[in-house]
């Protein structure tokens, strides 16, 4: 028979663990190892982060039904940034829950991507597990992973609306290509919340 104190402690721990698994983890620090993942693309083909070991990888949290994410896609901001950096692998991740109204089935997602010139892989993370592991909060939310598999940049694609916007991801990729650390390495992501 377990002591009441011990079972209570276990219960508290259990509740905390259950709660934490459903919660977006605190921010993934620059310099931390990027969490491994295995997801499937819109064709159901598996894609893992390990596939790109030794390369710079950009992760873009995407949601075509989020007007902020869609606005960037319409203006081809990500597509242009990706094209300017052929040395980097660009992956979009859609963490929208299947039951959320924003969820987009593969056929519609493909049509959306084709229309906007998005040729890079889009990966489904409908359980939200990968989004939570990265602390992905918004669409868009950008992570740049360096060749050693560590997070080199975490934040917004750019400094936001307005004529004087700075493309942080472009700057981060340029810095990495020149053997430098991105600066800024952390910015505040801006957009719709990820629909976990």
């Amino acid at each position: 028979m377990p002591s009441p104190v011990r079972s209570l402690r276990f219960l508290v721990l259990l509740v905390a663990m259950l709660a934490s698994s459903r919660v977006v983890r605190a921010d993934l620090a620059v310099g931390a190892l990027a969490p491994a993942f295995e997801l499937t693309d819109l064709d159901g083909k598996p894609v893992t982060l390990a596939d790109f070991r030794g390369k710079t990888v950009v992760l873009e949290w995407i949601n075509p039904n989020c007007p902020v994410s869609r606005g960037y896609a319409d203006r081809k901001v990500m597509v242009r940034t990706a094209a300017a950096h052929p040395e980097a692998v660009w992956l979009a991740i859609n963490s929208t829950a299947r039951k959320h109204g924003d969820y987009l089935a593969a056929a519609e997602h493909k049509a959306y991507d084709v229309k906007r010139g998005i040729a890079y892989p889009v990966l489904y993370d409908t359980s939200g597990e990968v989004g939570r592991a990265y602390g992905a909060k918004t669409t868009p939310h950008m992570f740049v992973i360096d060749e050693s598999g560590k997070v080199a940049y975490n934040g917004a694609i750019d400094s936001g609306p307005g004529a004087t916007s700075t493309n942080y991801v472009d700057a981060a990729l340029t810095a990495l290509a020149n053997g430098k650390r991105p600066d800024p390495a952390v910015t505040q992501p801006m957009g719709c919340s990820v629909k976990y």
């Binding site: 909060k137 936001g160 801006m190 629909k195």
Partner: protein, 288 residues
């Protein structure tokens, strides 16, 4: 005028009429969409950006939290307005899915605008500004609006817009130390029991009662700030905030600035960025 924005009449009545001054206050035309509408209000000496929002929708504080972004107003098309920046009323907290949180306003808000207004004696002042803002419910919609406002040359009579702008300005968080009634606030960073960094904000003294205190921080370049844990004590208020380093590749500096806003007092109080010692703190728990 659209019947969807009925709350305005009630709101105007609720504001203190005693604040009315002799300055002529005017309002520019609303620029409206399905979620919200925005306009400039002002007089010869003060300007504001006013929003009214449909139920459930909100706009943001300067730190929008885990989603959103604060409105941006660009006066570059109006040379008479220089160094314009929005001032932010005390925010409230909106809990989102998956433990995320954002900070902002619902129903209606006036952001007073700090600016240098070039005097143009005897002539009307035509202002135009480009507004970029995000309005969110569960979904978020970015909007752009070109706002205009003509401030007449001569003041004719007191106007409710001046009073409402004055009231919004008067309700801005009070700078810490501005009044003896406000509690004195001190901040300290130390390792928590588990080794993670923790920021302690304690507020003591002063004559104000705290009804439902809450604490907001400007976004911080070095740390992700956890949700403030509030503890009431006889000597005052105490908040504990977990700090998670955002960048493990750079050593922590000797000091760092925190800018904070405490709400739920009789007046909200804000502390300008002030250095807090980090020196000697090495016990950092690395992220899982």
């Amino acid at each position: 005028m659209s019947s969807r924005f009925r709350l305005r009449a009630g709101l105007a009545l609720a504001l203190p009429l005693a604040a009315a001054t002799s300055a002529l206050g005017v309002a520019g035309p609303w620029v409206e969409n399905a979620e919200a509408r925005a306009r400039l209000i002002g007089d010869a000496t003060a300007l504001g950006l006013e929003f009214e929002l449909q139920p459930g929708w909100h706009v943001y504080w300067r730190n929008s939290g885990d989603a959103g972004y604060a409105p941006r107003l660009d006066f570059s098309a109006t040379p008479a307005i220089q160094d314009a920046r929005l001032l932010f009323p005390a925010p409230r907290r909106f809990d989102l899915a998956a433990g995320m949180v954002s900070f902002g306003y619902e129903r209606a808000v006036i952001y007073p605008i700090a600016a240098t207004i070039a005097p143009a004696p005897g002539t009307a002042l035509d202002l135009s500004a480009r507004l970029d803002y995000l309005v969110c419910r569960d979904e978020c919609i970015p909007h752009r609006a070109d706002l205009t406002l003509t401030i007449p040359a001569k003041a004719a009579s007191a106007d409710p817009e001046s009073a409402r702008l004055a009231a919004a300005r008067a309700a801005l968080p009070l700078p810490a130390g501005a009044t003896p009634e406000a509690p004195r606030v001190s901040l300290r960073v130390s390792p928590a029991a588990d080794g993670a960094l923790e920021l302690e904000l304690s507020a003591t003294g002063g004559g104000w009662r705290a009804a439902a205190p809450d604490l907001f921080f400007d976004s911080h370049p070095l740390f992700a700030l956890g949700r403030p844990q509030f503890q009431a004590s006889k000597s005052g208020l105490r908040f504990l905030i977990r700090l998670q380093p955002l960048d493990l590749t750079r050593p922590l500096p000797a000091t760092t600035d925190f800018a904070w806003t405490v709400t739920g007092l009789e007046r909200s109080v804000a502390g300008a960025p002030a250095p807090v010692a980090l020196a000697g703190i090495t016990s950092v728990v690395l992220p899982r």
